[in-house]
Structures are given as C-alpha cells and as structure tokens.
C-alpha cells in the first residue's frame, strides 16, 4: 500500500511538470481558448477546441502569420461554471504571451470572465454567448463572432409566421441562458403583431434541460393547438421533443432555433421524425459559398469524421481566424491596437460563417439568417 502511495505521488509530480518543460521553438503567436472542457457542456468545449485546432492548423500549414510565426492554441477549461471561468480568465491574463482569447461558451460564464479580460486589457472574442447585454457594457476589448438573441428573434417574427401562414404560435424554451434569451426576444419581436391581432402566442413555457421526458409539456402544447411551434433550445432536447410530440399526436410544423437541428438531431430523432423539421439558422458551413468554409469543413471532417454538431464551434474557429488576421495585419500584439483595428478596420473579412465585421459595441455585423429544413434524405437544406 505504501509503495502505491509513493508511486501515485511521483506520477502526479511528473504529470504536473511535463507540460511546463516543453521546448519553445521559433516564438509562436499564442492565442487562448477558454471553453467548457469538462462539466455538463463538455461536448461543446471539445468541439470548440477541435475547431480552433483545425483553424490554427490551416493557418500554420500556409506558413503561419507575421512571416512565418506559427499559431499556438492555449486551452483553459472553465467547466461551464462562472467561478472557474473567472479563474481561467485570470490565468490567461497573467500570461503575457497570450495575445487574445477566444472566450467562451455560455453568457453567464462569459460575464465575469469578460470583466477580467476588460480589466487586464486582453482582447476576448465570444463564440457561444448570445445574451444581448454582453455588448451593452461599453467594453473596449470584448467582441463576439456569434449573433445576438434578438437578431434571430426578429428574423423569426418577420418570416416564420408568414411562411406557414400561422396565426397561433407556440414558443418553448429550455431555461438555459441561451434558450430563454432567444424565447424572450422572439416574444418581444412578435409583440407588435400580437398587439395588431395578426398572431397569437398560444403557448409559452419552459422544459428542463437534461430531462428525458417532455410528454407532459407536449400534451399541454397539443391542447393549445398551435399552427407553428418554435423551440429555442438545443438539439439534444429538440430531438426528444419532436419524437415524443409526434408520438402523442402533435402535428404542427416544428421550427427550431439555431442550436436545435443538426446531424445529431436527425440521428437521435430518426429520419421519419426529423424530416420536415425546420430551423432558423445562420448559413450552415455546407451552404456557404466561401472558400474558407469549404476548407475548414473538409479539414474538420477529415480529422473527426463529421462536421461539428452545433453552430458554436464554428464561431470559435472564426474568432481564432479573425484574431490571427488582425495580428497579422497590424503586426502588433498590443491589445489597444488590436481592439481598435477589430472595431474600425475589420469589415467584410472572409470567415467561415461569412464576411466578418464588428459594430462599435463589438457585436458581429450582419449575421444573416435562413430557414432550413430536414429533407427526405436527412440532409439539412435551405427551405425554398
């Protein structure tokens, strides 16, 4: 037992010191990634890490930036939890060689972390943080490559009821910061139409993420007789929801938010159920005419077998790309210069998710949306 104890201690020590001793080659440009590598959102963290690695590799394969310096990714785990996120941010800001950070998934984790980045003057670009308020704090160093809750909500209100000729709308969210935010913004965007009597919100409620049984909520939804049903949460629950809804006889069209439908959704729900499900989404990589998208997608698929199953990791890759681009263009590691350049001079720069530009608050400029549908073969295509 005693040997076991010592063996264990020694292996711990070795494990701690090995990473520190890795050799430094020709000084790379270090970009941080803060994401949920462990914890309940670990799959998002894993994909974000993979995406950033692919994006960095694509840049490095072309000879890096600043005339031959490689991109090095430094990943810190925030476990999807605010306190750990703040510590992760604090760890990165203490490392002078980290130029800027791709950070993070989840608005409530981003909030305290971005406070720290702001205070220590480190450019940080969110990839899965859609709460409107994040860019309303007049922060200098905070940007995001993903859209905001209200842009999608507005798109829904403008297009979806008309498309399905629907007067009775059901909205369901999953009580996560993202899902709830989108649901609220959709409700807000629909309000003028509701006041004018054009549409009616006949159902508005939440389900609990991580649960498996939603038949009760769905029965209520069925009794409300909606003509279109908008679910603003994630694919894992969405797949269960649609399967169970069809089981108990909910027949109205299902429209998911941009996290609700992907290949995993089709896999879990099964083709029978999934086909004919709609979603509001930014253009999917596969539909993007941009070279970057094809290149990224192929590289990702080659390495991991399939494209990422949620939209956020692609925004993470784009965040890394735009940081690399800005460092390359300015030739500077200075946070003020980078932030200034991102705000003023980055405009229409090609990215995986389309041309990238930022508003003065740091929001992504012009995130386009489409209505997608799952076709007979289980592919997700733009709905005509």
């Amino acid at each position: 037992m005693k040997t076991l104890k010592y063996l264990f201690l020694v292996s711990l020590l070795v494990a701690v010191f090995i990473p520190a001793s890795s050799m430094a080659a020709k000084a790379p440009v270090v970009i941080g990634l803060q994401g949920p590598i462990t914890g309940p959102w670990a799959y998002e963290g894993e994909m974000a890490k993979q995406s950033c690695e692919i994006a960095a590799k694509l840049i490095n394969d072309k000879g890096g930036i600043l005339g031959g310096r490689m991109i090095e990714l430094r990943v810190v785990d925030d476990a999807g939890e605010p306190k750990t996120g703040a510590l992760a941010a604090q760890k990165l800001v203490g490392q002078k060689e980290v130029v800027a950070v791709v950070s993070t998934y989840g608005s409530s984790v981003c909030e305290p972390a971005s406070n720290i980045y702001e205070k220590y003057k480190k450019v940080n670009i969110g990839y899965g943080v859609t709460a409107v308020r994040l860019t309303q704090r007049d922060f200098k160093y905070f940007f995001r490559t993903c859209g905001r809750d209200d842009s999608q909500g507005k798109f829904f209100a403008d297009n979806v009821p008309a498309k399905f000729n629907a007067k009775k709308i059901a909205i369901m969210h999953d009580n996560t910061a993202f899902g709830k935010g989108l649901a609220e913004d959709t409700e807000r965007a629909l309000k003028p139409m509701v006041d004018a009597g054009k549409v009616q919100i006949v159902y508005y409620d939440a389900i609990t993420p991580g649960e498996k049984d939603f038949r009760v909520s769905l029965t209520k939804l069925r009794e409300a007789k909606p003509e279109v049903w908008y679910y603003t949460g994630y694919y894992a629950e969405a797949a269960l929801l649609v399967s169970q809804a069809r089981e108990i006889g909910v027949t109205c069209p299902f429209v998911g938010g941009n996290a609700a439908i992907n290949n995993e959704f089709v896999k879990i729900a099964g083709l029978d159920v999934a086909k004919g499900c709609y979603m509001t989404n930014e253009p999917l990589p596969a539909d993007l005419p941009y070279d970057k998208a094809k290149e990224f997608l192929n590289a990702y698929k080659a390495k991991y077998g399939d494209i990422p199953s949620s939209p956020w990791p692609i925004y993470a890759a784009d965040a890394l790309n735009i940081i690399a681009y800005t460092v390359d263009k300015t030739g500077s590691m200075d946070a003020d210069k980078l932030a200034g350049y991102l705000r003023k001079d980055v405009d229409g720069v090609p990215g995986i998710t389309g041309p990238i530009g930022f508003t003065d608050q740091g929001d992504r400029e012009g995130v386009p949306f489409y209505i997608y549908v799952v076709d007979e073969k289980g592919n997700i295509v733009i709905s005509k």
């Binding site: 389900i207 049984d213 083709l271």
Partner: protein, 303 residues
C-alpha cells in the same frame, strides 16, 4: 381525462425507472447505512454499454435473435458487466473504508461517482450518444384514444416483473430474510450466522445490474444518453428512496412510482418548469408528517 390518463402512464413509466434505481440505493443503504452516490453512474455506465452493444453487435444479434433478441442481449451484457463493476467498486472504494464509519464512506462514494462519470466521458467522449433507431421497436398503440407505445408497455411490464422478482426474493425467501435481518441489525444478524459478505455480494451485484437494465431501457425509451445523466436520475431515485422509507424495499418501489407520477402531474397541472420544486415540496411535507417516510417504521428510539 385523456390527458390525465396519458400523464399517469408516462409518470408510471418514468417512475418505474426511478423505482428500479431506487432499489439499488435502498438495498445498499439498508445494509451499510451508506448513501451510495455512485449508483446513478452505474446506471449511466449500463446505458452506455447497452448502446455500445447495440451499435457494434447490432447486425449480428438482430440477424440471429431478432429485434427483441438484440435488446435482451444488450441488457444481459450490460447487467453482467455492471454486476462486476459493482463488486469492483465495493472492493476498492468502500470495503477499506467501512471500519472508519459511514461519513468517510459518503466522501468515498462521491469520489467513486466522479471517477466513473469522468471515465465514461473519457471513453465515450462528452457528446450525447444516440441509441440506434432501427434497433428500437416503435409501434404505437391506441387504447380508447389514449396514445401509448409498445415500448412503453413492454418497459412497464418488464419493470414490474423485475420489481416483483426482487420483492419475492427479499420478502419471501430465506436468503431475503437474511438480507432483511442484516438491514435491521448487522451485529445480531452476524451472530446468528448470516454471512455479511454474501449479503454484500448480493446487493452489489444485483443493485448495479438492475441499474444497468434500467439504463438500457432509458436509452431505448429516450434514444439519447449523456455521461451526466446518472447524477439527475440518482438524485431523483435517492429522493424516491427516502419518500418510501429508506432501506425499505417495497417503500423504494412505491416511492419511485409515486415520484414519477407526481412529477408528471405537477408538470401537467402546475408548470413544467416548477415541477421539481413541486416534487421536493411534497417530499418535505411528507417527511414533516411522517419523519421516516411513507413506509418507514415509526418506532420510538429505545432508551
């Protein structure tokens, strides 16, 4: 009416999952007075093993044994593996710690839970996994306008059969009597010649095996599994155990079913978002008025 009946059936289905998991908690608690936090993760592991078997051995099994054969096979393998895992965990994480008392064992149980959950994440990856749709029967049945699936019926019947068998073993057989005696008073039972190790062997193979079977059923029923799901089910099942009266086998079954039905009715008639609050408030109210659970003995302490 239709809604209420459907909800009760849904509630019974989810309740039977809780009940089967709760049995594992209750048996371990009865003998060791230990909250076996790792039990929820046994359930998850069982679910992942069943998934793996269905994915990799699907074509072969289905070809030889048919659709149901494949499912039975997945359940059997998962149950066997988990019985073994249960023993290993008991040997490593609990046995060396029994003499120190029950509180250190609680920490060890939490540690084991963390290990198992993260091992699942490392092995299968953090993403959700989907049970293969073609391996799962999806037939709908309509009784008087009430919509249920064949799978639901099978799950309910099978769960009740399992519970019935366990009830029989515990309440009617000589071995069951020795388990109950051990739960009542370990020292006296040992003096009467009941082998403690045999009882431990029994509860740490049967409990996890039941959990594994439940895991496979949950995987089929919802098609989608994640490495963190055991925590949620574990918490609910433990609540069910307490609701029924901890250490009491029929109590755990009843507690599980009641919890499932309460949850569904709370969601239907109060609010889906507040249903867990509703469940916990009921639990607290029950305990205020029956401090040892519904089936718990209310004997005064001997002074």
């Amino acid at each position: 009416m239709r809604v209420a009946v459907e909800q009760i059936i849904n509630g019974l289905t989810i309740g039977s999952f809780y009940a089967l998991i709760a049995l594992g908690y209750s048996m371990v608690y009865g003998i060791l007075k230990l909250i076996n936090f790792v039990h929820g993760d046994f359930f998850t592991l069982g679910s992942y093993l069943g998934y793996t078997i269905l994915i990799f051995a699907a074509a072969f099994i289905t070809a030889h044994f048919g659709l149901w054969g494949g499912i039975v096979c997945a359940m059997l393998v998962a149950a066997l593996c988990l019985a073994l895992t249960g023993l290993v965990v008991e040997r490593i994480a609990y046995r060396p710690i029994y003499p120190a008392g029950r509180l250190p064992a609680v920490v060890s149980a939490l540690g084991a839970s963390i290990v198992l959950q993260n091992a699942i994440m490392v092995i299968w990856g953090p993403r959700y996994q989907a049970y293969p749709a073609p391996m799962i029967p999806n037939l709908h049945l309509l009784f008087f306008g009430i919509n249920i699936t064949l799978l639901q019926v099978v799950i309910l019947v099978f769960s009740f059969v399992l519970m019935g068998i366990l009830y029989y073993i515990i309440q009617k057989t000589l071995f069951g009597a020795s388990v109950r005696a051990m739960a009542l008073d370990r020292d006296t039972a040992s003096l009467m010649g009941i082998d403690f190790n045999r009882v431990i062997l029994f509860i740490f193979t049967l409990g996890p095996a039941l959990g594994a079977v439940t895991g496979v059923m949950v995987g089929m029923y919802y098609r989608q599994i994640s490495f963190t799901m055991g925590w949620n089910y574990g918490l609910k099942a433990f609540t069910a155990t307490i609701l029924g009266g901890i250490g009491n086998i029929p109590g755990a079954m009843f507690g599980g079913l009641l919890l499932g039905v309460l949850e569904m009715l709370g969601a239907a008639y109060i609010s889906a978002a507040w249903k867990d609050v509703f469940v916990f408030i009921i639990l607290i109210l029950v305990l205020i008025f029956r401090p040892t659970g519904i089936f718990g003995e209310t004997t005064a302490e001997k002074v």
